[in-house]
Amino acid sequence: MTTPDTTPGTASTTLPAPRGRTRTAPRAPKPTRTATRRRAGAWTPWLYLLPALAVIGGLLVYPVYQLGLISFLEYTQAQVSGGEPTYFKGFGNYTALFTDPQFWQVLLATVLFAAACVVTTLAVGCALAVLLTRVRALPRLALMVAALGAWATPAVTGSTVWVFLFDPDFGPVNRLLGLGDFSWTYGRYSAFALVLLEVVWCSFPFVMVTVYAGIKAIPSEVLEAAALDGASQWRIWRSVMAPMLRPILVVVTIQSIIWDFKLFTQIYVMTNGGGIAGQNLVLNVYAYQKAFASSQYSLGSAIGVVMLLILLAVTLVYLRLLRRQGEEL
């Protein structure tokens, strides 16, 4: 079925390749892309892909496999130093995890906190994107520049600055609000609120810039017609812009979910490793603390696997949405 020069298992199997043609012959009836590509030899794309696949395979796929493996082993400090043999533990780590009330508490906190971050970021980003379309160039530039600055700020420095801003002794915010020496990081909810503010501050610019670019791509006649028909700004957003921006909104929502679910640096730096008695732990920090602070590597890996599975589920939803939009990969 295949011509001799193509190795089995390449694109030609899906196409009715005419027999007996030389590989350089142009395909008269239907000059598809495939036909022109085949001249160079089917191995060319794989050659181009080789470095990428080697790096990703070695440092991403293999570690994922190892993560899964370690989560089924007994692997603590004793095994790392070689004092005790490593042994297969089956679902032991998972049983330990699922019977630990702290795990469920952390999981719940992670989901709720990520949801709060995503909703706030999207609301702020979309509202400001709409606002940007209604102002002249100068205020628009001011907000764009400020937003780019927040976007560019590294998570670590953003965290340190926000902690300083809300510092009970020397911070300007408490002074401004007349809160005295109220400590934001002491209480569980105020600490989460502080982290949420920082997260929204550094992640709304991505939403704003992307949605703004999307709105700009909507033909202005559509918006003008809606405005002339007397639609309010909210109505225009809900009934005209949002449906037209759906593909973009799906992308930024999914990206936000993934980013906020994986938060690490902000929580770690701002609440000093998960807050007082671990009250501000999220899954990522929890896994890190289990693995590297208490040397329970296998338990930390099991938490990692749980996270991986949740994010995989989000990805599958994303792929389905993409496919429904008829996007060609």
Binding site: A11, V55, Y62, L143, N284
Partner: protein
């Protein structure tokens, strides 16, 4: 346009709000730079003022003297620079493969690249730690470069796809007719055309690498001469007495390169995102 002209007072309110929001968004960065420039006495004041009459570089001096900040800065730059260059080249080749060729498993690969982006980097710290240990890479900059390269590639490939696709097929055929070899077409024609996209993509790999905190914290355990900026910054965090001047000066030094990078590529970034989203 017309609707805007009808509601003039509305627009003024909107512009006032926009400027206010811009000021609020910029305030943390302003405060960071301001605090870095304040003399020690003013930072420790319980009546913080939004200006300073006697700016000093003491905090910066202290940071660079005490902590070998210059060295950490250089380390961060080496790691981020290597990742950016390597990932741009590798991603360019891979993106070309998945857009200009049809081959079996192409869609599978694309889905794999998408899924790979979702893998929580932090969860892999544990296996990567053992991998780096087995290869004797702990306490070296390589232990940061390699994982970051792997983690930035899927997104870079995914994003570059749109840019490669935008180059007309006819150009390639034309080049072939003119006798250019495939390699020559790749590097002398396609590469320059895709370059803006490469720049936009490299912002993301640069930022994620530059900001990395977890890998540096986990893999550079004992050799502080290999430390990178985020780690150095946290040295100034002390349980009882934070040196806020030092922290803010360090934060400023760490934020500046990213800001410069952002401003330089800002145009391409926005159009690049548009391309990636629309694609």
């Amino acid at each position: 346009m017309t609707s805007l002209r009808i509601r003039r007072p509305g627009r003024l309110v909107a512009e006032a709000v926009t400027l206010l929001v811009a000021a609020a968004v910029a305030f943390p960065l302003y405060w960071m730079v301001l605090s870095a420039l304040k003399p020690a006495g003013e930072i420790q004041s319980t009546e913080p003022r939004p200006w300073t009459l006697s700016p000093s570089l003491d905090s910066f001096r202290r940071v660079f003297d005490q902590q070998e900040f210059g060295r950490y800065f250089l380390n961060s730059l080496i790691v981020a620079g290597t990742v950016v260059l390597a990932s741009a080249l590798i991603a360019f080749l891979a993106a070309t493969a998945v857009t200009r060729f049809r081959f079996r498993f192409r869609t599978t690969l694309l889905v794999m690249f998408l899924v790979a982006q979702m893998v929580p980097v932090e969860a892999l710290t544990i296996p990567l730690f053992f991998l780096m240990r087995d290869f004797g890479q702990l306490n070296t900059l390589g232990s940061l470069i390699l994982p970051h390269l792997a983690f930035s590639l899927p997104f870079a490939i995914w994003m570059l796809r749109g840019f490669v696709k935008a180059v007309p097929e006819a150009l390639e055929e034309q080049a072939q007719i003119d006798g250019a070899s495939r390699t020559r077409f790749l590097w002398q024609i396609l590469f320059p055309l895709v370059f803006p996209g490469l720049v936009a993509t490299s912002v993301f790999s640069f930022i994620s690498t530059w900001n990395d905190f977890l890998f540096a914290k986990s893999f550079l355990i004992s050799d502080t001469s290999q430390s990178t900026l985020p780690m150095a910054l946290l040295v100034f965090f002390k349980p009882d007495e934070n040196d806020w001047g030092g922290i803010m000066a360090g934060s400023t030094v760490m934020t500046l390169p990213v800001l410069v990078f952002f401003v330089l590529v800002q145009r391409r970034l926005v159009s690049g995102l548009g391309g990636a989203v629309k694609d």
